[in-house]
């Protein structure tokens, strides 16, 4: 199994380790719920070094990315600015979702998911060979990535990295800056403020331990999943994959169909009618919503109406919530039935995110 530079550190901190797409990663360090609440109320840190940073270097970098991804890299005008995008196949399915950082006109950095990293590299290299043979595409397995998230996350990072406060206090959301050996980005996957930090993997243990000493709680993949679900952020492989249209996956805001730019998958998207949408659910009855459970709307009781793509228990709401793909005629405020084992449980359709910056944003069923 593949390991990150922090593997032994996780074990020393009594993590329960799990196989996550071939990576030996911490699920939790005792209580996933405690870790979740710590991120919402203070600061937590996640080892996300299993994700892959990829450097794209060469004079054709921007032109290559214009064609490669569905969002428009021309939105990236200031060095350090980041953009969230999908990379589509010609059928309009999602190969992966990723973040692109604009460093210089001849150097962009991409961060892709762990489970899709090999596939992404092969796809990008094949596109490169066709479109921009001079471009270099370099996987950066020499970098570790640590996400520090929560209302106090930035202050605690500043406490640990000398000089970082002056350099990064002015960073807006989705902006990044290199400070010494730390690439510090004001991004995240929790719905809280914070940083995602890339650094040489040889420095990862010392940095992690310094953050711990500064009062940042280690948090595992379990809490990462409940936090991102509350924040209404998609998870690749659950909420979208190569067989789903991003416009039916709550990702329309990341797909640029307005400009003349031709990107891979665009033609298919323009020709495919959008029939479904991603919505939020809050469970009214007792129980737990899980992915793949079937949904029927009150009106029709049609079993095939929809399906939960991500479901679970929301520690902040103290109720079960879900993201679900349903027909376009389902609207916020509707009540739907979810098939859970032998029961049909009632859930309310809501507009997500469920939680942002520690605050509940949806009306809770009583």
């Amino acid at each position: 199994m593949k390991t990150t530079a922090l593997n032994q550190t996780h074990r020393d901190m009594t993590a329960k380790m799990v196989d996550f797409g071939g990576w030996d990663m911490p699920l939790h360090y005792g209580s996933q719920l405690d870790e979740h609440h710590k991120v919402r109320s203070d600061a937590g840190m996640f080892d996300v070094s299993h994700m892959l940073a990829v450097d794209i270097e060469g004079q054709d970098a921007r032109a290559f990315l214009r064609r490669l991804v569905a969002n428009n890299v021309d939105k990236l005008t200031q060095p350090g600015k980041a953009l969230y995008s999908c990379m589509l196949n010609p059928q309009g399915g999602v190969i992966d979702d990723l973040i692109i950082y604009f460093l210089t006109e001849s150097h962009f950095r991409m961060v892709v998911n762990a489970g899709t990293a090999d596939k992404d590299m092969a796809w990008m290299q094949a596109q490169r060979d066709e479109l921009a043979p001079g471009l270099s595409i370099t996987p950066r397995r020499d970098l570790a990535m640590i996400a520090v998230q929560g209302p106090n996350a930035r202050a605690k990072v500043w406490h640990v990295i000398p000089g970082a406060q002056d350099e990064t206090e002015q960073l807006k959301l989705f902006q990044a800056k290199l400070v010494d050996k730390y690439f510090i980005a004001r991004t995240g996957y929790t719905g809280e403020d914070g940083f995602e930090i890339m650094l040489p993997s040889t420095d990862a243990v010392a940095f992690w331990n310094a953050l711990f000493a500064a009062g940042v709680a280690p948090a595992g993949l379990g809490a990462r999943d409940t936090l991102r679900l509350e924040a209404g952020m998609n998870l690749y492989g659950q909420d979208m994959d190569e067989t789903t249209n991003p416009l039916e996956s709550g990702l329309g805001w990341t797909v640029d169909l307005k400009s003349d730019r031709d990107f891979i998958g665009k033609n298919t998207l323009l020709e495919s009618p959008v029939k479904k949408q991603l919505i939020g659910l809050v469970l009214i009855d007792r129980g737990v919503l899980r992915s793949h459970q079937k949904i029927s709307a009150e009106r029709t009781r049609n079993e095939d109406e929809g399906e939960i793509t991500s479901g679970g228990f929301s520690p902040t709401l103290n109720k079960s919530i879900a993201l679900a793909r349903v027909p376009l005629n389902v609207s916020p405020g509707d009540e739907v039935q979810v098939a859970v084992r032998d029961n049909a449980l009632r859930a309310t359709v809501v507009k997500y995110p469920f939680v942002r910056n520690g605050k509940i944003l949806v009306d809770l069923p009583s």
Binding site: K16, Q32, L33, R286, G287, V288, R290, S320, R341
Partner: protein
């Protein structure tokens, strides 16, 4: 990990305690709660329901997954733990205190066929390897 000697166990990680009044109390083991993690929901069987041995009769759901609970022995459900509806985390706090349900065994001697603490310990260890 402590496995109480005064209880009986199943391969599917339930524990059973025979009470003085002849009823049997059922819960899930410390090992099972550790595997599942933080509990968020418990569904217990209806009082009066007659269970066959190994029948699915309850569900415990953690932040991670849902797990079925099986009747360790045949019998009729006489009580369910009312505390777990609002506080499923009691299973995490003490799995051998937070019982799920009680049943009146069809045959009290069925308990003798279940695993003792040593045999259950061996099952857990063989799973870990």
């Amino acid at each position: 990990m402590s496995i109480p000697n005064n209880l009986k166990y199943t391969k599917s990680h339930e524990w059973v305690r025979l009470e003085g009044d002849g009823t049997a109390t059922v819960g899930i083991s410390q090992h099972a709660q550790e595997l599942l993690g933080d509990m968020v929901f418990v569904e217990t069987p209806a009082v009066g329901r007659k269970l066959k041995q190994s029948e699915e009769c309850a569900v415990v759901e953690s932040v991670k997954a849902a797990a079925d609970v099986y009747a360790p022995i045949a019998g009729e459900v006489t009580a369910v733990n009312p505390e777990l509806e609002s506080a499923p985390e009691k299973i995490n706090q003490d799995a051998y205190e937070a019982w799920l349900f009680k049943l009146k065994p069809d045959n009290a001697s069925d308990l003798d066929k279940l695993l003792d603490a040593t045999a259950y310990q061996n099952i857990i260890e063989s799973e870990d390897h």
